[in-house]
């Protein structure tokens, strides 16, 4: 079924109030003074004497009541730099003024003087001693996954194929930039704005202000897109707005403009992945050695967990008994890289899926055939020892994908076409992959997400979770899950907008976990509500449920009929964080994506002419929303592959506007044909699995494999902009 979005008409009539649409009486405008260099020691802050500073609110690190940090995994990132800066644009000072033009004048009239230190921009370079800024080697996190004895296999292998693959960064370009409003309400600091994770912000505020949680209230406004960009970064904006509001004694609004947003906020981690693979003459993979390097930027932020997901997806969906995956996330003096849809997996999946085509070419095998010989079967184990038992037949999935994309006919036609056409080259490429749904390892167990389901006196049901709707349809899908479980009209289900003073902590809205993990808790909560209302004739549903609910409230006036449900680790799911062995994810979604391309040798432009996205995501809860997730994810992946180039200068994004950072427009996309296979999974509500991130994994390898097919070339880096392709082809001749 496809319930229309519950927030649809508000969004279509201009009624949805995003954070910058809110007017708060007496509100000041806040802004940020940032470091003008990538690394150094703050010597002095110069305030221009031409400005009357008396009516400005000015905040620096000394105004932070608690610990000067943006609390996340580690405590290394200051909320405001005190003595040292580690990246260009690092926040140093905050200003607020009641007039926007005066604020802008103030922001222009302060100069931060810094004694520069040598910055490190190349993550692949060996840092000199003076460039060490984190531990003894600048490594934020190191992960090893070991299976079998790869060294002994390589020692006697007759055929070893190597490849090094690189991916560039990517900017989220959510259409609504970062923004927060903070104000004092009695003893409580209220922060509202554009965020994916209200409870991350709550935790960060309690540490920066050294105050109990009860003294803060964090409220989510409608989000104009997130894609991971509003996972951890909003904590920075929230702390800043709260500091200014407290000092000013008045509300303060901080809205980043587009250029500031693109220059200073997190982006996808750039990567370099090296593969060494031992294969036999039939193309059977005997051993894999994978070495992963992620550029983490200047502070730890989420890099350890992004790396974790990267390493866990590095082998691709292939059977191999002897594996060593080594991953490192390292410091550079770039603004911290962060969460972006896919979270490390798109990088390592690009590498393995490109490498599979490289192996196929080396062996003279069809790339589809090479995959078929190595794809995981039910009962096989991943590198962590986790047994594959989702019931999916990957060989059949790939075969269906190839059929839908008309691969065999196209291969023949393209061969003839490419021989005869003066400047156009056509090719087809594929990628087979998986994406672990929910938090990695014991993450969900640690989160211990809690949801509340309330049965109201008027027969309706209210859902309370911390899940945010950033466009993917959280409110709709949760209402639909409850409606289906109770057999009532989903439009009668109230989904409460996240507000930490009202909703329990059901965890962040990330990691393709909302529909699956939180949705499952909602389903369980609804069932419990039915059990409570069971008067002996079985759990009521539909009209009976509503009648039973109304009866309950008549008999127990004023009763808060609230069911709480918390995440329980599924029996038999084990994970060892130290050895990286066990069940890395509760379940996986699986996919085969295929791309047809046409390369113009005059302009070096790559045009995707057809795209087939076939996936197995468990039961599809809402076809319209699911299709939207896949098409939107593929479009974003296409951008990362062919168009979006983050150009760095002094470690930070130089092309920080949409004029020269190109995201796909309406004319850049081919048909994206979406197909689902549905094998109900026990992990999610009604058999659903995670879906949101999966589609970003496919486009880069499928499209580049198609380009390589078209050109008989071996391209190992993205983005493949026309300039890069021109240089690549020029260099070959």
């Amino acid at each position: 079924m496809s319930l229309d979005r519950v927030d649809g008409l508000d969004k279509l009539s201009g009624k949805s109030a995003f954070v910058d649409d809110l007017t708060v009486p007496g509100c000041l405008f806040g802004g940020t003074i940032r470091s003008p260099v990538a690394r150094g020691r703050i010597r002095k802050i110069h305030f221009s004497t031409a400005v009357d500073w008396s009516d400005f609110v000015i905040v620096d690190h000394r105004d932070i009541p608690g610990s000067n940090e943006v609390a996340l995994i580690e405590s290394d990132q200051p909320a405001l730099a005190s003595t040292n800066v580690r990246h260009l644009h690092e926040p140093v000072l905050l200003l607020a003024h009641s007039k926007l033009h005066r604020l802008r004048e103030g922001l222009r009239s302060i100069r931060v003087e810094i004694e520069a230190a040598p910055p490190l921009f190349d993550v692949e370079a060996q840092p000199t001693k003076e460039m060490l800024q984190h531990g003894s080697d600048n490594v934020f996190k190191r992960i090893d996954i070991r299976k079998g004895d790869p060294a002994s296999v390589f020692a006697k292998a007759s055929r070893v194929i190597e490849g090094t693959y690189r991916t560039g960064s990517q900017e989220h370009v959510y259409l609504e930039t970062q923004g927060m409003i903070a104000h004092q309400e009695g003893e409580t600091l209220v922060v509202r704005g554009s965020m994916q994770c209200p409870y991350y912000i709550l935790d960060a505020l309690t540490i920066a202000f050294d105050r109990p949680k009860e003294r803060f209230r964090v409220i989510q406004c409608p989000l104009g897109g997130g894609f991971g960009g509003k996972e951890e970064y909003p904590s920075v904006v929230a702390i800043h707005a709260a500091l200014l509001a407290e000092k000013a004694g008045r509300p303060v609004k901080i809205i980043y403009d587009r250029q500031e947003d693109m220059a200073v906020t997190t982006k996808r981690h750039p990567s370099r992945v090296r593969h060494r693979t031992a294969v036999d003459d039939d193309g059977i993979i005997l051993a894999m050695e994978i070495d992963i390097l992620f550029d983490g930027g200047a502070y730890v932020t989420l890099s350890p967990v992004v790396l974790s997901r990267g390493t866990l997806h590095a082998t691709g969906p292939y059977r191999c008994d002897h594996v060593h995956v080594h991953g490192e996330a390292k410091l550079t003096n770039s603004p911290p890289y962060g969460a972006f849809r896919g979270f490390g997996a798109p990088q390592t999946l690009f590498a393995i899926e490109r490498h599979m085509d490289v192996i196929a070419r080396d062996l003279g095998l069809d790339p589809g055939e090479l995959r078929r010989r190595n794809l995981l079967c039910q009962g096989d184990t991943l590198a962590t020892g986790q047994k594959v038992q989702d019931g999916v037949d990957l060989t059949a999935l790939l075969a269906r994908g190839e059929e839908l994309a008309g691969v065999s006919l196209a291969t023949q036609e393209y061969a003839a076409f490419n021989r005869s056409h003066p400047y156009l080259r056509r090719g087809v490429g594929r990628a087979t992959f998986y994406h672990g749904a929910g938090f990695t390892g014991s993450g969900e167990t640690h989160l211990a997400s809690e949801v509340w389901v309330e049965g109201l006196a008027d027969g309706r049901v209210r859902l309370l979770t911390a899940q945010t709707d950033m466009g993917q349809g959280t409110m709709t899908i949760l209402a639909q899950i409850a409606g289906e479980t109770l057999s009532v009209d989903p439009r009668s289900i109230e989904v409460v907008t996240p507000d930490t003073s009202l909703v329990p902590n059901s965890g962040p809205t990330v990691a393709s976990r909302t529909a699956m993990v939180v949705g499952k808790l909602i389903e369980d909560g609804c069932r419990e509500l039915q059990r409570i209302l069971d008067s002996g004739s079985g759990p009521p549903s539909g009209k009976d449920f509503q009648n039973a609910l109304e009866l309950h409230h008549r008999e127990n006036p004023g009763d808060l009929l609230r069911v709480s449900r918390s995440y329980q680790t599924p029996p038999g799911q084990n994970w060892d964080e130290v050895s990286y062995q066990g069940d890395a994810y509760a379940c996986y979604s699986w996919a085969a994506h295929l791309a047809h391309v046409e390369v113009d040798l005059r302009t070096f432009q790559v045009r995707v002419t057809d795209y087939v996205a076939l996936q197995e995501v468990g039961r599809v809860l809402n076809e319209v929303l699911a299709r939207g997730q896949i098409q939107g994810g593929v479009a974003q992946g296409l951008g990362w592959t062919l168009l979006e180039e983050v150009i760095l200068e002094n470690g930070a994004m130089k092309n920080h506007q949409m004029m020269n950072y190109i995201i796909p427009g309406s004319g850049d996309l081919s048909p994206i044909r979406v197909f689902f296979e549905e094998i109900p999974s026990p992990s999610g509500p009604g058999g659903a699995k995670g879906i949101g991130e999966l589609p970003l994994d496919g486009p880069a390898p499928a499209i580049i494999n198609a380009v390589c097919h078209a050109l008989s070339a071996s391209i190992r880096e993205i983005p493949l902009t026309p300039e890069v392709l021109m240089e690549f082809l020029g260099g070959k001749e």
Binding site: G14, R627, G628
Partner: protein, 170 residues
């Protein structure tokens, strides 16, 4: 060098039609139409994505033509007929485009949506049977990061069926 005291900011008054109502609006003369709509008329349905004329999010109709309200001065609107997303629904309910955008999933986060709705409205008023290539071209001034555009194209095509009056015969 500017001293804040040196600048005296005086509002100007202009008359233009917004969503069918003739309005006298006072605003600072440097303001863009986007700022006048959002700040002086509290019509916040029109969003801003870059304020540099790059993203198309702030598109409104001026005398029936799509314009980037971040690049039009409020002063230039004297006597003009402005239409924003708040004025799209008619007395009989939502515009056909609003209905199909809802049912086909063309609005995800909804932030670029007003820009698309108005651009599409201008298009379907002169061509209620656009082909895909026309749609791609005509909507290319507005960026969307959520949908991949396909559901937007579909929603416009579907709305055109109703606009052409073919809805009932199906």
């Amino acid at each position: 060098m500017t001293t804040p005291q040196a600048t005296v900011r005086r509002k100007v008054q202009r008359t233009f039609t917004v969503n069918g109502d003739v309005e006298e609006v006072s605003f600072l003369p440097h303001k863009t139409l986007l700022e006048v709509l959002r700040e002086d008329m509290h019509l916040t349905g029109t969003k801003h994505g870059c304020e540099l004329g790059e993203c198309g999010t702030c598109t409104v109709l001026m005398n029936g033509e799509p314009v980037l309200s971040c690049l039009v001065l409020g002063l230039a609107c004297e006597g003009a007929d402005i239409e924003t997303v708040e004025g799209m629904a008619g007395p009989d309910g939502p515009h056909p485009l609003q209905k199909t955008f809802a049912s086909i999933g063309a609005a995800q986060c909804g932030y670029c949506t007003p820009g698309f709705l108005l651009t599409a409205k201008a298009l379907v008023e002169w061509n209620s049977n656009p082909d895909r290539e026309t749609l791609k071209e005509e909507l290319s001034g507005v960026l969307c990061r959520c949908t991949g555009y396909l559901q937007i194209f579909q929603a416009v095509e579907e709305a055109c069926v109703e606009i052409r009056g073919e809805g009932e015969t199906k």
